[in-house]
């Protein structure tokens, strides 16, 4: 089909995790399982963004012995794209915040009705 390299593998893993997470969010009835689904979805998207920054055969964007020495010695041709990695660092922190908030809501919902079944919370349904 095509030549398989790290970029394709991580892209595939990202897509699979997104689909699994999306499936979990849509089908599960337990609130904790829905939150786990959101976490998986989040992780998949992060892997996807990082894999888009992968450059074939290049190393991590840290200038040390792996990259040819010297402050400005042809770094451009030795490293992968650092920008998506920096963006994903932000996204991970936001994902943590969202997960923490969802867990707090889940605790509050549980103390209100003593159940975590999403179908039991039908007060606004008509």
């Amino acid at each position: 089909m095509m030549n398989i390299d790290l970029g394709h593998i991580s892209l595939l893993i990202g897509f699979l995790l997104i689909i699994v997470g999306f499936w979990g969010v849509l089908t599960q009835k337990n609130i904790i399982k829905i939150i786990v689904g959101f976490s998986i979805l989040n992780t998949g998207i992060n892997i996807l963004i990082v894999s888009l920054g992968y450059v074939k055969g290049k190393t991590a964007p840290i200038i040390d012995a792996a990259v040819s020495q010297g402050v400005n010695h042809n770094v451009v041709s030795a490293v992968v794209d650092p920008v998506p990695q920096a963006l994903v660092l932000t996204a991970i922190v936001i994902g943590f915040g969202i997960t923490a908030l969802m867990l707090a809501y889940a605790m509050k919902l549980y103390s209100a009705k003593k159940t975590l079944e999403i179908n039991k919370f039908n007060d606004l349904k008509w």
Binding site: I18, I19, A86
Partner: protein
């Protein structure tokens, strides 16, 4: 039934979309853009980053200096999360000393946590102080410190974390982050410019100007915020137990 088939349709459509992207995707072979011939932002960071910022880790250079304002917003979001959780899980009897009798924690866990917790804290501090040299940084180091706090809560369920220490560490690090940013306007090129201190020798601990200091404050702040969230969870678990008993 209709619901399930609709769900299957959504998932399949998503999968088909991804399959098309996957089969036509070509891994990049260099940092240049495909559309125009100008220098891309990634090329600029890779070629000039070491000179301009002095950090060996280019991701840190981007996160703390080039996109430093974004990181300030990120820390603010984390602070906001901690505040919302504190507000949301507010307890009526927060100050009361009602203790729940938990099942005894395992002797192994208690003993091992006594050995591990100082090492975990030390590792977290190492990670955020070396953020400009190694993979890691403030957020990662803060998260590692918070795992130590989580282990502490697991091994001693009735432990009372000192809320005031967490609060003060968080506030002082947040204010210091902003003050360093403002010093950048006065002494160097702009907000959060790291050249307020000398760039130092490339690749050593005391290099890259203000980056190690900023990232240490970020690490302390993140660690304190996550510990605060864990503390809130632990306390509200107590109140939930009290209701159900």
């Amino acid at each position: 039934m209709l619901r399930n088939s609709l769900l299957a349709l959504v998932i399949l459509a998503l999968g088909y979309m991804f399959l098309n992207v996957y089969t036509t995707y070509d891994t990049r072979t260099d940092l240049s853009a495909t559309m125009n011939s100008g220098e891309t932002i990634a090329q600029h960071f890779a070629s000039k980053g070491a000179q301009e910022v002095g950090a060996a880790n280019l991701v840190t250079a981007i996160v703390v200096t080039y996109r430093g304002f974004d990181t300030l917003g990120e820390v603010t979001i984390l602070f906001l999360t901690a505040s919302i959780i504190s507000f949301f899980l507010k307890l009526k009897d927060e100050e009361s000393d009602s203790e729940i009798v938990h099942r005894d924690t395992s002797e192994l866990l208690v003993t091992a946590s006594k050995v591990l917790i100082p090492i975990i804290f030390l590792f977290g501090i190492y990670v955020f102080m070396n953020g400009h040299l190694t993979p890691g940084g403030g957020f990662q180091g803060g998260a590692i410190i918070a795992t130590g706090v989580a282990l502490m809560i697991l091994s001693q369920p009735n432990i009372r974390l000192n809320y005031h220490v967490i609060h003060w560490v968080e506030s002082i690090s947040g204010i210091s982050f902003v003050v360093i940013g403002i010093l950048g306007i006065i002494l160097a090129g702009g907000f959060l410019d790291n050249k307020i201190l000398g760039l130092g020798e490339f690749g050593t601990l005391f290099s890259a100007g203000a980056i190690p200091i900023i990232y240490s404050f970020v690490g302390l702040k993140v660690g304190a915020e996550i510990s605060n969230i864990l503390n809130k969870y632990q306390k509200s678990q107590k109140s939930n137990d009290a209701i159900s008993n």
